[in-house]
């Protein structure tokens, strides 16, 4: 009996620390929360869009990362960036971030678009999905916890040389303040 009593707090503790990596939060963004109200025209207004968060809540969650991966393929990000190697758009799996490699920078890039080809997806992709994509994009360069990032995809193998995937410098830079990473 006493054994059972000592186990109960332990169990409670287990539940409290319950791995957030495994959460499947289907209603991440409540219906009301969106980056802005719908615009009727295709033209973007001029003012800069400020992302609502600075920390990406999805980076530690395996499910969200894999959703991001699927969306990355489905929304045809790979059409320009390929599977991270870059082509029409810049590569995503190296350490070079033209507009910053922090989650909010990437978020802004997707929402706002960037000169020379990156279109704006404002109003097209819901915020929650953008965050998932951001997390996946950052996972390509090894900037999210390794045990949460998605494994290989069930499609053609585009990474037969894994050592090219992550340059050793990237992992070191991941922890540094964004300013140093942004410099390029």
């Amino acid at each position: 009996m006493r054994l059972a009593l000592t186990f109960i707090p332990l169990l409670v503790l287990f539940f409290l620390v319950s791995c957030e990596r495994e959460q499947r939060n289907f209603r991440a963004a409540p219906p009301a929360a969106r980056s802005e109200s719908l615009t009727q025209s295709q033209i973007q207004p001029g003012q800069a869009y400020t992302p609502p968060q600075t920390k990406n809540p999805t980076e530690y969650k395996a499910y969200e990362l894999s959703q991001g991966k699927q969306l990355y393929e489905q929304y045809n990000c790979s059409g320009c960036h390929f599977h991270g190697g870059g082509g029409i758009g810049p590569p995503l799996m190296d350490a070079k971030w033209i507009y910053g490699g922090d989650p909010q920078n990437v978020f802004q890039t997707v929402i706002e678009g960037r000169p020379n080809g990156m279109p704006s997806f404002r109003g097209k992709i819901p915020d929650a999905q953008v965050w998932q994509i951001v997390a996946y994009v950052r996972s390509m360069s090894g900037q999210v916890p390794k045990d949460a990032s998605p494994g290989r995809s069930d499609s053609m193998n585009t990474r037969s040389e894994p050592e090219q995937l992550v340059e050793p410098t990237v992992t070191k830079q991941a922890g540094q303040p964004p300013s140093t990473v942004q410099s390029k």
Partner: protein, 666 residues
């Protein structure tokens, strides 16, 4: 004949007064030699087969209760349409954990546990052949179970079904570590099952008492032997399958990735090559219970010994030839389908023979309607129904309609609960006196049986209907307009009745342990050797293992049937006999207590658990395992010589010559 004589050099048969044999000093000596070290250390380093087996049984029963609770949750969720008690995510984890628990953590371990307990006693030896390996198997099993449930409680419970089909369980569609936990848990429990099988086979082959030739082996021992061989042939497949899945997920191999030449169907073949024999691995030991219980409670030998043994072996063989009937809905060549239909139906013949033999035994016996027999009768009722619905699944056309529906859910619960859990409860009632020295209450036992029988049929019979009316399995909810609600509600009520029945059993165990009638050595007047020693049995099982003169030794024993003497009481010594005829060959010292099995299983645990995070866990863990194994196998001291030096030399020389000439008889 002359060879037999040569073999028996040194064996003396003689009549002695009984009072001269039972020396209490020998008993004390045996007690001292075989007892476990007191305290926690002793508990952790214990290698007595009865203690390890009892741990298997208790642990597996706890997992049975957990799996039952999960089942109850599922039944509650399905009791009405569009119920919101459990969401899809939790429901999927629960049904996967339920299936995985019942197959890998309950059914196989508990049946193997009972085997490990009673096989050595039934063949009349003191311990299993590899006591430390046996302990290692238990710790692996325990770690695997704890690992799965730790994951489940941490929201990392596997959620892809107990057969984890790819690509759903692959790296792309099952993110996170959930499926990895499933895959590693499989490896843990398979190690344990394989190790148990090796231990059981060797014990049966080498350690039978003189006189117990293969054609006198108790039917229960036969069933454990066949099961163990099935485990050896089937389980490596699932280890490879889950291993490949884990590698696909961890190091990006492409075993199951169709885009790179891998194949999702390959996984199904590998899995079901294990998965179907698994059903018989669960069922065959249960037939051993049935044959044993029926003989005891009809007061006659089980009808058709040879037919039963041959059926067991036939089931063991045919069981490997019908895995494809789980895959009839996948694209397969027509010819293959017909072949597997034929094979699937053919297995009904040996199973039918078994049923007929048991019925004949009842017909020609003196039926003593005690609880264990009641469970056996319930088993025949339910298992026959489940077996007959299996015919529907074996036929390709009808299988296409009922495959993956609740009809299948009904079918396999009929064959598995009917075929294994009912005999298991019978066996628990039957052997409880041997374990505790006390009888279980007959009243509560009968209540237990009737509640289980009624609850079971109430739960699972309507599921046949649900399946025919289109309800697929593994759905977390259904729409109100599907008209499935009433059947589901009935099933949920039935589950409640089953819950009460298991509760009755627990109460019965609790009460009887303390205040049941004292049993004595052989309360049922049964025939097999485990009843030839006091209840509960001492650590060394028998003071003098009794040689046997028939298949039902305790019914046919006379003063002419010898008991074995001359085994050392100062060492953990057992008698080795020849494989076929059980002629005495050798005295053999078994290993004693050791902490190394526990240490080694921890090394395995560290490897497999960290192996889901980094592949480096494997080389590092292997090195750890190697170290632990060195500790395990490093001999502490040279073996003590027993008997005079000259005698030893003479015998050993004789042996060496035999082995060099290749003339040693098996």
């Amino acid at each position: 004949m002359s060879k037999t004589k040569e073999e028996n050099v040194g064996v003396v048969r003689e009549m002695r007064p009984r009072s001269e044999i039972d020396e209490s000093s020998e008993r004390q000596e045996l007690e001292r030699t075989w007892r476990a070290i007191p305290g926690l250390w002793g508990w952790l380093s214990n290698t007595n087969h009865k203690d390890i087996a009892m741990r298997y049984i208790v642990t597996a029963f706890i997992f049975f209760l957990l799996g039952g609770l999960e089942a109850a949750l599922m039944r509650l969720q399905l009791s009405k349409p569009e119920n919101t008690l459990l969401g899809p995510d939790l429901y999927n984890q629960i049904f996967t954990t339920h299936g995985t628990t019942m197959m890998f953590l309950f059914a196989v371990p508990i049946l193997e546990g009972i085997g490990l307990y009673f096989v050595p006693m039934m063949v009349g030896t003191r311990n299993v052949s590899f006591p430390r390996l046996n302990a290692f198997g238990y710790y692996c099993y325990l770690l695997g179970g704890l690992f799965l449930y730790a994951g489940f409680l941490l929201n990392v419970g596997p959620d892809t079904g107990w057969f984890s089909y790819v690509p759903l369980a692959g790296p792309e569609f099952s993110p996170g570590k959930r499926v990895d936990i499933w895959a590693q848990m499989i490896t843990f429990t398979e190690i344990s099952a394989l190790v148990g099988a090796v231990v059981i086979i060797t014990t049966i082959f080498k350690q039978r008492v003189p006189g117990m030739s293969l054609n006198r082996l108790p039917l229960f021992v036969w069933s454990e032997l066949v099961t163990s061989f099935m485990i050896i042939f089937a389980m490596p497949a699932v280890m490879m399958g889950s291993g490949m899945l884990a590698m696909d997920r961890l190091v990006s191999t492409h075993f199951f990735n169709p885009a790179e030449g891998g194949d999702a169907i390959l996984y199904q073949h590998i899995f079901w090559f294990f998965g179907h024999p698994e059903v018989y691995i669960i069922f065959i030991p249960a037939t051993g219970f049935v044959s044993t219980i029926i003989a005891t409670f009809t007061r006659r030998e089980t009808f058709g010994y040879l037919a039963l043994v041959l059926s067991l072996i036939a089931v063991g063989f045919i069981g490997f030839g019908l895995w494809v009937h789980h895959m009839f809905a996948t694209p397969l060549p027509q010819l293959g389908q017909s072949f597997f239909t034929g094979a699937s139906m053919m297995i009904a013949i040996p199973n039918g023979v078994q049923i007929f033999c048991w019925l004949a035994t009842l017909w020609g016996g003196k039926v003593n309607l005690k609880t264990p027999l009641l469970f056996v009768l319930g088993f025949v009722f339910i298992f026959v129904l489940g077996g007959l619905s299996g015919i529907v699944l074996a036929s390709v056309p009808t299988d296409l309609q009922v495959h993956d529906t609740y009809f299948v859910v009904a079918h396999f619960h009929y064959v598995l609960i009917g075929g294994a859990v009912f005999p298991l409860f019978g066996a628990l009632y039957y052997w409880f006196p041997k374990w505790t020295g006390r009888m279980m209450s007959e009243h509560l036992g009968k209540l237990n049986f009737w509640l289980l029988f009624a609850g079971f049929n109430l739960t699972f019979f309507p599921m046949h209907q649900l399946g025919l009316r289109g309800m697929p399995r593994r759905v977390y909810t259904y729409l109100p307009e599907m008209n499935w609600a009433s059947f589901n509600l009935v099933a949920t009520i039935g589950a409640g009745v089953m819950f009460l029945s298991v509760l009755t059993f627990l109460i019965n165990v609790w009460v009887s342990r303390r205040s049941g009638a004292v049993a004595g050595a052989n309360p049922w007047n049964a025939a097999t050797l485990e009843w030839a020693t006091e209840s509960p049995a001492p650590a060394y099982n028998f003071i003098h293992p009794p040689a046997v003169n028939g298949r039902y030794p305790l019914w046919t024993r006379t003063a002419e049937t010898p008991v074995v003497t001359g085994l050392s009481a100062e060492r953990r010594e057992v008698l080795l006999t020849s494989v076929v005829d059980a002629l005495p060959q050798q005295r053999h010292e078994l290993h004693g207590h050791s902490i190394w099995p526990l240490v080694t299983s921890f090394a395995v645990g560290v490897t497999l658990i960290f192996g889901i995070f980094t592949p480096w866990a494997y080389p590092v863990g292997s090195a750890l395992m190697l170290l632990a194994l060195y500790g395990w196998f490093w001999p502490k001291e040279g073996p003590k010589q027993y008997g005079t030096k000259e005698e030893q030399k003479l015998f050993f020389k004789h042996q060496t010559e035999l082995s060099l000439r290749g003339q040693d008889p098996i």
